[in-house]
């Protein structure tokens, strides 16, 4: 099936009109030297039922459903209302390009406009863009943007920032003459304010800090950003668990100059890590340095309200090498899903969901630390994740849990050698009390 729509007669007549005698003739400009003289070495074509059978087999080779998972670490399992799937799967949302022709793209444009508004409301900022690739690249873009805004080159990055985001920041900045300096964490799991103070200076472009941080601990943004502003450095708040914004104070009200992060929690499935939803918001005054697309309000010939892409002089298709970012295709459809998700939950639903995460995380923390030998690693307050210190017998325990199809959490040693033996446990509104109790019970059993 190559999904072509021409009948045999069509092909014949069209070749005639063009004035060539075969399809081959159309490729005369491709030199023989670079022509492929054989068939591609790929499996023979599958029909639709065969394809679905094969894909079903692949999908079946992953752990889901039957597994009880407490994995988080930047990818969260949350409720997705049925309306999100139903509405986002409409062909009119799935199959258009970027809305370059606003007169026939009002749907997409108004959705982006609403998305921008929702992000601003949650982040407490003036302006938000139409999306970036994901949390890691949004963090990296925030760093680049800080540098553009104040021309400083030293970036202080919290060690408690998602390790993949840190790695991406490294990768992105390596070639641009920026200096990255890490700021550690204390026994509370929060950013080491003293260390921050020591490293802050007038070359500091930005302080990058995540809350809830990678350990699930809620940071004291106000203090941290206060320190940054003392040196006219910019405050970059990263939010990897966007749901927290439903209940925690908006970073914008705690002094953030740029808020960047990951909004996968808003209606996107785990999907083995993508597509997710990077977002970024900033103050009005910085909008010309903001990367990514923006939808704005305008009116038509007849004075009717309408929406268009705007301020595109920031973008690559106009400014080429002088653009604020090279991003072109973004994650628009993911932003659509987030918009449907947020409008379906509404103010009260979002708050309730966020509250349930806090309550359940606490319940889980209590139940799990009641297991002899298991301790909380940090004293800071968790949103929906926390780090447990594992007793020595853990390795066997882990195997025992695995046999019961339980994934207790993400092991931290690889990214944090200093946290050898620790795991990051995520609990959301999707975990029923009995799930948590099951984990605690299995752990108790395994560690006996």
């Amino acid at each position: 099936m190559s999904y072509i729509s021409l009948s045999d007669r069509d092909k014949k007549e069209m070749l005639e009109r063009i004035g060539v005698s075969s399809l081959e003739d159309l490729f005369r400009s491709v030199p023989d030297q670079v022509k492929l003289k054989r068939k591609l070495d790929l499996p023979p074509a599958l029909t639709e039922p065969e394809l679905l059978a094969w894909m079903g087999e692949m999908a079946g080779r992953n752990a889901y459903g039957g597994f009880l998972s407490f994995l988080g670490g930047g990818a969260y399992r949350h409720i997705i209302p049925v309306a999100v799937d139903h509405l986002s799967s409409r062909g009119e949302f799935v199959t258009p390009y970027t809305p370059y022709q606003p007169e026939i793209s009002q749907g997409t444009l108004q959705v982006i406009f609403e998305f921008q508004t929702l992000v601003c409301q949650l982040a407490g900022m003036d302006v938000a863009n139409a999306s970036l690739y994901d949390g890691a690249t949004a963090s990296a873009e925030a760093v680049l943007m800080s540098n553009r805004l104040n021309n400083r080159t030293k970036i202080l990055v919290a060690r408690s920032l998602h390790p993949h985001y840190r790695r991406a920041i490294q990768t992105y900045t390596r070639n641009l003459g920026l200096e990255l300096v890490e700021v550690g964490f204390t026994e509370s799991g929060r950013l080491d304010a003293a260390g921050l103070k020591a490293k802050l200076d007038d070359r500091t472009a930005a302080v990058v800090c995540q809350s809830p941080n990678y350990f699930g601990v809620v940071e004291d943004f106000e203090t941290i950003f206060g320190l940054a502003h003392g040196h006219q450095a910019l405050s970059v708040a990263v939010v990897a668990e966007a749901l927290s914004l439903g209940i925690l104070e908006a970073p914008g009200r705690q002094g953030a100059d740029i808020v960047a992060g990951e909004a996968q929690s808003f209606g996107l499935p785990l999907g083995f890590g993508g597509p997710y939803l990077g977002f970024m918001a900033c103050a009005q005054g910085s909008v010309r340095q903001l990367p990514g697309r923006l939808a704005g309000l305008t009116s038509d010939l007849e004075g009717q309200r309408g929406f268009v892409l705007t301020l595109s002089t920031r973008e690559q298709h106009i400014r080429r090498e002088k653009a604020t970012s090279n991003i072109c295709t973004n994650q628009a459809w993911c932003a659509l899903r987030a918009t449907i998700f947020l409008e379906t939950l509404g103010h009260d639903g979002l708050r309730e969901m966020a509250c349930q995460n806090i309550q359940k995380a606490h319940y889980a923390l209590e139940q799990l630390t009641a297991v002899p030998g298991v301790k909380a690693r940090f004293s800071g307050r968790p949103f929906n994740e926390f780090v447990l210190e594992r007793p020595r017998k853990w390795a066997e325990a882990d195997a025992a849990l695995r046999k019961q199809n339980i994934l207790a959490g993400v092991a931290l040693e690889h990214d944090y050698p200093e946290l050898k033996g620790c795991i990051l446990v995520n609990v959301t509104e999707m975990h029923r009390r009995e799930d948590i109790d099951r984990l605690a019970g299995a752990l108790r059993e395994a560690l006996r």
């Binding site: 021409l6 639709e48 079903g56 009002q106 994901d134 990768t171």
Partner: protein, 488 residues
């Protein structure tokens, strides 16, 4: 006709579209006091489920889309997006897979990634692929980072990247963000890279030449081997922007053209839907020499199982939180498996057939700056219509009245007033003919009634929108002071 309000304009306290199950653990009232809690999310909406459903259903109907009709947006390869691919990507075994799960528990996902990499290697003639980039531009950036890492290791990252004047805007932008200066290479009178200019520009401070092939005029760079030789002989790398691969699958392979790095747009050539602007996927393919620098983790095969190699010493690091836009990759793989080797070739053949059919049918009516043969797309201009004061944007807006999506106009910069037309292989003859008829009528209207075009579109949901006003006084979010729409 009722205009769709913003959701904020119909929000009110007490409406609900969703309820959560009751909290099933003991509720601790005191708990929140330890947090920096917000009182409310100011302005956040609150509506009923029917309001949500109608809102998005009605909004969707104001969009044009591939599922509605012909979408010949040049360079964007707006082909039909098979529904079975979406179904495959929505299988619970994929959607519920956690990116940090142990490799043994996500063997299916890893096999999907590995197979896609391998098939792309065969299709593009490259040695290795990474699927981490989330879009084409992301791939460009990564590709240049790889080149830079290699050159740095060899002692000098070099300073410049060469980019033809016909290139897409992301090329220079990506070069800039990867730390390079841009030197523009002229096109010759056939619309191909000017070899003399290239020869001049290709110094030992040049890291790479970024070529698009076929280029954005739809013209194949016949001298590609020679170009590669020149670049390689001076220690540079040949980067290919694979956005136009739809013209070549099964016909000619970039790797065989001595390309060192290529990005491919799965959301173009491999039919994954554009979603109104994304998500895409921009896999990057490399020759052996660049493989050690690929971002981590890399999917490997070991004892018949799939593993994730997290740390390769020379890896440039990460450009994505996890493994790229995995569910998009699923769709592309589904497409490759469905087409098979014959289908992939037929796809290129018919894409080129359709494009040449349109080109031939419009020749004479619209100006064609370059007469060079073209493959999957062709670029006309408004030069003839300009005589009547009609610009490409007016032609574009008038096409809307005929029920067709306009062509690309923002580039290539070397064709002023460009109308870049890419029909793709999936278009029915009838739609091609309707487009040709529309363009034919519009050419006549431009001469006879230019005002009709300048005030177009006339039949769309909104009339022509004022983009200048939007940029002059940007309103980028709703606030209470945004005026609600009027019924008309």
């Amino acid at each position: 006709m009722i205009r769709e309000p913003l959701i904020f304009e119909i929000s009110d306290k007490g409406k609900r579209a969703f309820r959560l199950p009751k909290l099933d653990v003991p509720f601790r009232k005191d708990l929140l006091s330890g947090y920096p809690v917000r009182e409310e999310v100011e302005g956040f909406p609150q509506v009923s489920e029917v309001e949500v459903v109608r809102h998005f259903t009605r909004l969707s109907q104001t969009n044009y889309a591939v599922d509605i009709g012909f979408y010949p947006l040049g360079s964007c390869t707006m082909k039909y997006n098979p529904k079975v691919n979406d179904r495959a990507a929505s299988l619970e075994g994929f959607t519920a897979a956690h990116p940090l799960a142990p490799a043994e528990l996500v063997q299916g996902c890893l096999e999907v990634l590995k197979r896609t990499e391998e098939y792309l290697c065969e299709i593009a003639g490259m040695d290795a692929f990474t699927l981490q980039p989330a879009a084409g531009a992301h791939g460009e950036l990564l590709g240049l980072m790889l080149i830079r890492a290699r050159l740095t290791e060899k002692g000098n990252p070099r300073r410049t990247v060469l980019i033809p004047d016909s290139a897409h805007g992301t090329n220079p932008s990506s070069a800039h963000i990867s730390g390079y200066q841009v030197r523009v290479i002229n096109s010759d009178q056939n619309g191909r890279i000017d070899l003399a200019d290239l020869d001049r520009a290709m110094t030992d401070e040049v890291a790479a030449l970024m070529v698009t092939n076929p280029n954005t005029l739809g013209v194949f760079e016949t001298d590609i081997k020679k170009i590669a030789g020149l670049v390689h002989s001076r220690g540079g790398f040949l980067y290919m922007d694979g956005a136009n691969l739809n013209a070549l699958t099964g016909i000619s392979r970039p790797g065989d053209m001595d390309v060192d790095v290529i990005h491919i747009n799965l959301h173009k050539t491999f039919s994954t839907p554009h979603g109104g602007g994304g998500p895409g996927s921009g896999p990057v393919g490399v020759k052996k020499v660049l493989e050690p620098y690929l971002p981590c983790p890399v999917v490997g095969r070991k004892d018949g199982r799939f593993v994730l190699e997290g740390d390769r010493p020379k890896s440039i690091g990460r450009v994505h939180s996890f493994h790229g836009n995995f569910l998009v990759v699923v769709k592309a793989l589904a497409y490759i498996l469905t087409l098979g080797p014959e289908g992939l070739r037929e796809m290129a053949e018919v894409a080129v057939l359709n494009s040449n059919y349109i080109r031939r049918s419009l020749e004479g009516l619209y100006h064609l700056k370059y007469e060079t043969p073209t493959l999957h797309e062709c670029v006309f201009s408004d030069k003839l219509q300009k005589e009547h004061g009609v610009a490409n944007i007016d032609i574009a807006k008038r096409l809307i009245d005929y029920g067709v999506h306009p062509p690309t106009m923002s580039f290539p910069l070397i064709v002023p007033g460009a109308l870049m037309i890419e029909p793709t292989e999936t278009e029915p003859r009838r739609d091609l003919d309707l487009f040709i008829q529309a363009m034919t009528s519009i050419a006549r209207e431009a001469a006879e009634n230019p005002e009709l075009l300048k005030s177009a579109p006339h039949t769309s949901f909104v009339r022509r929108l004022d983009e200048t006003a939007a940029a002059r006084n940007p309103v980028l979010k709703w606030t209470g002071s945004v005026k609600p729409p009027q019924a008309r």
